[in-house]
């Protein structure tokens, strides 16, 4: 009974909350090298781990406005706020010199990425028109303003003569806000 009433309605609003499971992984350049020179007998190794993350993980909340054009077709506009999960990459960089280890050094760092976005999403909605458990599909365009932040923590250890043997560096980076356009497809069910 409730569904039948809703199908007849012309305009509606809907506060919503969703959780996103990220798809795809970053194409950040990954270096994993190990270089040796026999003349200097030095070895350099570099490794990065947990690099394959998606910023699609996170929560979304917003408000949707809909207008039903006919029994089967409607238009919707969603405004939402997205807050990503924190994604961490770890890097290790080592230089080893043999047989004199004076210039050995080790740098370990952790980068934590965090994103926030606000989006406007116009969509067209097509529903089956059933009275109960009415299925529908929607497709639309996402217009999103995104802001990325990175927290860096690095630890450097070395034996350089006269140099500080151990130090840490903490930085906060903000990346330029970007406006991007994407797509969205939805399958839903009205209760």
């Amino acid at each position: 009974m409730m569904s039948a009433t809703v199908e007849a309605q012309k305009d509606y609003i809907a506060p919503f909350f969703s959780y996103g499971f990220g798809l795809g992984k970053t194409d950040m350049v990954i270096q994993d090298e190990k270089v040796s020179w026999s003349s200097t007998e030095s070895t350099t190794s570099y490794a990065i781990s947990n690099q394959g993350f998606s910023m699609g993980w996170g929560i979304k909340a917003g408000l949707l406005y809909g207008h039903q054009l006919s029994e089967h077709v409607g238009l919707e506009f969603a405004a939402e706020y997205f807050r990503s999960a924190k994604n961490v990459t770890n890097e290790q960089y080592y230089e080893e010199y043999s047989p004199i280890p004076t210039y050995n050094m080790c740098l370990e760092s952790k980068n934590t990425y965090f994103m926030q976005a606000i989006s406007l999403t116009p969509m067209i909605k097509m529903s089956a028109g059933y009275t109960y458990w009415n299925p529908y599909v929607k497709c639309g365009v996402i217009m999103s303003l995104q802001l990325l932040k990175k927290e860096y923590h690095g630890e450097l250890a070395n034996r350089f003569p006269g140099y500080i043997p151990y130090e840490t560096l903490d930085q906060v980076n903000r990346f330029s806000p970007r406006f991007n356009v994407g797509g969205i497809g939805v399958f839903g069910l009205n209760g």
Partner: protein, 84 residues
């Protein structure tokens, strides 16, 4: 029937979106070493370092800015609709 109708819904959303940064700004930075472990204040450094577009095109300075972060995802959503 009620004038004000509320009904619940649930959705699965597939979204395609990405983010490619162009510029990075260091908004806070703190260097800390063992020799000055009790004097951290003197080592606090705060500055802003903005890379210009020219810098970004320089591979030597822009490696960390050449990545694309995917924001695509599969979302589960639930909510309720209120008739106006």
């Amino acid at each position: 029937m009620n004038d004000r109708v509320v009904n619940v819904y649930t959705e699965v959303q597939l979204q395609y979106l990405s983010y490619s940064p162009k510029k990075s700004t260091i908004v806070a930075s703190m260097l800390n070493d063992e020799n000055n472990v009790n004097d951290l204040a003197s080592n606090d450094v705060e500055y802003v370092d903005e890379l210009s577009d020219a810098d970004i095109k320089d591979p030597g300075q822009s490696k960390q800015l050449t990545f694309t972060l995917p924001m695509s995802g599969l979302s589960l959503s639930c909510g309720f609709r209120i008739r106006l």
